[in-house]
């Protein structure tokens, strides 16, 4: 295989793996918006908190898998009261939820800055194995990320489309008032969804921590990408989110062969603007009533 093709192939692969992580995060964002009408500006910071916790817990617990289990639990304990006591009165008022979550975002960032410090840190690969792909050694941990992400995405799909609790969530996305009128305990669905969405962001953080720099502002970039993904895929459309995440990150990955990171972000942004001009609700978004 010629050198350049190999190069593009690896960039594409890195892009797709990053796309799977972004898909997890954006799915959480989309779910929270779809069910609760919250524009969650703190989503990127929950991802950051997940990564920071992983930075401490993986060496402490001595096991990546244990950390992958414990971090979501901690995030759940943080997220549930945020929904119940701060965001509950504003749900459905998009602009107000956005302002409130900006406040939460500042709080999380500064809390991380105060405890973790302001210097970006790199952590060791939890699975230090390389595979030989086409004569080039490829870090096994990245393949592991892809595997875990796919398993989680599949589990989410099964949860939403094959369990009775998933039916409740989907019913609440379609029509919250009607769902409440049918006797669904919307309270529980709301807390459950917010926790689920936040946990997805945190899992993204744990998975991404070893392949990026752990930094208290690392959520900003990811939140930007996740929001672009959700806008292009269509707010509240879960399938659209998945498609948009994978294709955008693949495009960004390949473009990084010729453009610097900022310009490839700008290129993705141009894609978003064009799509919004043609379809103001994204590719798979449904019209509001």
């Amino acid at each position: 295989m010629p050198e350049w093709l190999l190069n593009v192939l690896f960039l594409l692969m890195n892009g797709l793996i990053w796309g799977l992580i972004i898909a997890l995060i954006a799915l959480g964002l989309s779910l929270i918006f779809g069910v609760m009408g919250i524009v969650n500006m703190a989503h990127g910071d929950l991802y950051m908190v997940g990564a920071v916790l992983a930075f401490y817990l993986i060496p402490l617990l001595g096991s990546f898998w244990l950390a992958l289990l414990v971090v979501p639990l901690i995030i759940a304990v943080i997220a549930a009261p945020i929904e119940r006591f701060i965001l509950r009165p504003y749900e459905g008022h998009h602009a107000v939820t956005m302002i409130a979550t900006v406040g939460i975002s500042f709080i999380l960032q500064q809390a991380a800055l105060a405890t973790y410090g302001g210097i970006p840190k790199k952590m060791a690969d939890p699975w230090d194995v390389t595979f030989n792909l086409f004569g080039v050694s490829y870090p096994g941990y990245r393949l592991l990320i892809a595997g875990i992400s796919i398993v989680i995405l599949a589990a989410i799909w099964l949860f939403l489309y094959r369990t009775s609790y998933g039916v409740l969530i989907r019913a609440s996305i379609q029509d919250k008032n009607m769902a409440a009128a049918m006797g669904i305990d919307v309270n529980r669905v709301l807390i459950g969804t917010f926790v689920l969405g936040s946990v997805l962001a945190a899992i993204g953080g744990v998975l991404a921590a070893p392949i990026t720099q752990v930094f208290y502002l690392m959520g900003a970039d990811v939140a930007l990408l996740a929001f672009i993904v959700v806008i292009i895929g269509g707010l509240g459309s879960l399938g659209g989110t998945l498609v948009a995440a994978l294709s955008l990150c693949a495009i960004e990955g390949v473009m990084s062969a010729v453009l610097n990171p900022t310009l490839s972000k700008a290129a993705i942004f141009v894609v978003m603007i064009v799509i919004l001009m043609i379809r103001p609700r994204g590719l798979f978004g449904e019209a509001e009533h």
């Binding site: 998009h94 107000v96 956005m98 939460i104 500064q110 929001f227 672009i228 609700r281």
Partner: protein, 307 residues
């Protein structure tokens, strides 16, 4: 009627006090007040967007930055005078706001806030990246040419220069809100569907409000640059998009002058708290949550509503 009276009286008294303060204040406090006046222009412009047409934009840092760079680049590169530079800044703000508005105003509320936030974030990244134009994080600094033979380096000139623009901005915006155009804005805020049935092109009026607020954002950016003699890519930071929302929410949306209270309180808060507490943004976040909890109409709206 009662409410409007209180707001107008408040505005007149504040303007009178500000006119006197320029002479009596010590220099440290004076520069703080100059800053408050500049931000007040920004906040009033933002209020047209948020308070009068109910568009919660997260992209206004872009106009602030556009105004700042419009001014400083035309002074540095084209050796323009102060007034032409201000003109360039306003045009830059207008162009940015018009283009962004064309894309955004027709979107639904959720898309609007997200897309404005995304666009300003991307422009922040670009501004940080294009160091040859913007100076990046280090920024650009320059000497400011005199205006009508008076140097802005004289603190009194600087104070009354900014005060003049605050006064003019307030009068212009008040005139607009009192005019039929302002009535249409309010009708769109109160009930967009009914305004649409009455035959108003909502998208167009939202765009007008958006551009108007963008231009005043740019004016504030230009004045800030001229006062600081400095502009950096940080002016495009997301933080500058959040501040106007907070100012308006504290002071009271849809009151024009109300946001001055918000600006003054926030500036004092920032000035004193950031001096003794490094993580002052933490308190800023908590403050946002408290404001939302206590009153979404702001302080002036709260008092006027009771009167």
């Amino acid at each position: 009627m009662e409410r409007k009276g209180i707001v107008t009286r408040f505005a007149l008294v504040s303007l009178l006090v500000l006119a006197v303060l320029g002479v009596v204040l010590p220099s440290g406090a004076r520069s703080l007040v100059v800053q408050i006046m500049i931000f007040s222009i920004f906040a009033m412009g933002y209020d047209i967007c948020l308070g009068y047409t109910n568009q919660c934009s997260l992209g206004h840092s872009m106009f602030f930055g556009a105004g700042a760079y419009g001014a400083i680049l035309s002074i540095m590169s084209f050796k323009l005078g102060l007034i032409p530079a201000l003109g360039v800044a306003l045009v830059a703000g207008f162009v940015f706001a018009f283009l962004l508005g064309l894309i955004c105003v027709r979107l639904s509320e959720a898309y609007f806030v997200i897309v404005t936030a995304i666009i300003s974030a991307v422009f922040h990244l670009l501004a940080m990246d294009m160091t040859w134009l913007t100076g990046g994080d280090d920024g650009l600094s320059t000497t400011i040419p005199p205006v009508f033979g008076l140097s802005l380096y004289n603190p009194y000139v600087n104070y009354y220069f900014v005060f003049f623009f605050l006064l003019v901005s307030y009068l212009i915006l008040r005139r607009i809100i009192g005019a039929p155009l302002g009535r249409i804005f309010i009708s769109i805020r109160e009930n967009p569907r009914r305004a649409h049935f009455l035959g108003y092109n909502i998208t167009r009026y939202k765009l007008i409000a958006f551009v108007l607020s963008g231009v005043f954002g740019a004016l504030a950016g230009a004045l800030y640059t001229m006062t600081m003699r400095y502009a950096s890519a940080d002016y495009f930071n997301f933080y500058w998009s959040v501040l106007p929302i907070v100012w308006c929410l504290i002071g009271g949306t849809g009151t024009l002058a109300g946001c001055w209270i918000g600006v003054a309180l926030m500036s004092l808060f920032q000035y004193y708290v950031s001096a003794w507490f490094t993580h002052y943004l933490l308190l800023f976040g908590i403050l946002i949550l408290i404001i939302l909890k206590v009153s979404r109409r702001g302080m002036l709206g709260y008092f006027a509503g009771r009167g």
